[in-house]
């Protein structure tokens, strides 16, 4: 009887400890990930290494905070992403059209191998800056739900719109023009 009671207590304690451990681990991981930025909140700052050949005049790494005063279209993509294919040409088009007016289109390559990413960028003739989401730090900071996902960030570094789908050139321009005019 005593033995059985001891075992029951042990199992109960074990179960409580296991749940507490999972909860603690979840809290730690959640804290590392941060909150998903909403419209009107400051865009989380980050430093990201850029792919060689896709730096558009920037140094090896780019810091979001250094882009204050510019409108930033932060686009999460991947070479394996079927939907991303639909918007890459449009992103490139608006980059070429608006880069001299204070627009930065910044690609964040998410969960991609370098060879596949480079082939994708070359195939689409991309020239806007593109970086590697090392250890998923940027995607975690922005808590993205998948790719493609695009954050429109104004000149003060505030998130003004989040779009979770492929964007057309017209849709991009509709978001960019008012932000550039501010």
């Amino acid at each position: 009887m005593v033995f059985r009671k001891g075992v029951l207590i042990g199992v109960a304690v074990l179960a409580v400890l296991a749940v507490a451990a999972l909860f603690a681990a979840g809290m730690v991981l959640s804290a590392q990930s941060g909150k998903r930025p909403t419209v009107g909140s400051p865009a989380p700052d980050f430093v990201m290494p850029l792919y060689e050949g896709y730096r558009a005049g920037f140094p090896e790494t780019i810091r979001l905070a250094d882009l204050r005063g510019k409108v930033v279209v932060l686009n999460f993509w991947a070479s394996w992403c079927v939907e991303c294919v639909k918007e890459t040409d449009a992103l490139e088009a608006v980059w070429r059209e608006y880069k001299d007016r204070g627009l930065i289109v910044l690609g964040v390559d998410h969960l991609d191998t370098e060879a596949a990413a480079r082939k994708y960028l070359a195939d689409f003739g991309v020239t806007f800056p593109n970086g590697i989401d090392l250890q998923q730090q940027v995607s975690r900071a922005y808590r993205i739900t998948g790719v493609p996902e695009t954050f429109f960030i104004d000149k003060q570094g505030v998130v003004r719109k989040v779009v979770i789908q492929a964007l057309s050139r017209a849709e991009l321009i509709a978001e960019i023009e008012p932000l550039l005019a501010e």
Partner: protein, 158 residues
């Protein structure tokens, strides 16, 4: 009429044409096994909880191609795993790394198991410590359980 030289040239061309695709597709079971073994240790980046080795998505195919390319380039298994962890983070691994905040995932179950074993040992010791105390009044209990025989043995002992 074809001369022997012509025939040799034709044979050579035929052999080259046949062997080129075969060489490109030469199976390499050892390399396949290494790719599979490494992929087994990693997660699919897009399907929650799914093993990289068993996942047929394009993403996982890319990752497995990358593993193969790195092994073919002469990298060791550990170097390949280190590359993927450095690029994509520790969550690419099936087993969480035994460091940092994730150490708690390993430490708590081990501590809890040790605690459970401790409780078990304590309970067994306590139970066995009580038995002799109860049995001290009858140092040689009658195995048949007959109360008459037990009483008789007690009287004889006295």
């Amino acid at each position: 009429m074809y001369s022997a030289g012509h025939l040799l040239v034709l044979l050579g061309v035929w052999l080259v044409l046949c062997s080129a695709p075969a060489a490109a597709q030469t199976p390499n079971p050892l390399l396949d096994d290494r790719v599979h073994d490494l992929a087994k240790q990693m997660n699919c980046p897009t399907c929650a909880g799914r093993n990289l080795a068993d996942c047929p998505t394009d993403t996982c195919k890319q990752w497995k191609d990358e593993i193969r390319a790195q092994l073919e380039a002469g990298k060791s298994d550990q170097e390949v795993l280190a590359y993927f962890q450095a690029r994509f983070g520790p969550t690419v691994m099936q087993e969480p790394p035994k460091e940092g905040a994730l150490l708690v995932v390993w430490a708590v179950p081990i501590a809890a198991t040790a605690f459970l074993i401790g409780v078990g040992v304590w309970a067994v010791q306590r139970a066995s410590a009580r038995k002799p105390a109860g049995a001290s009044s009858a140092s040689s209990p009658d195995p048949s359980g007959d109360p008459y025989l037990a009483a008789l043995e007690e009287q004889v002992r006295q």
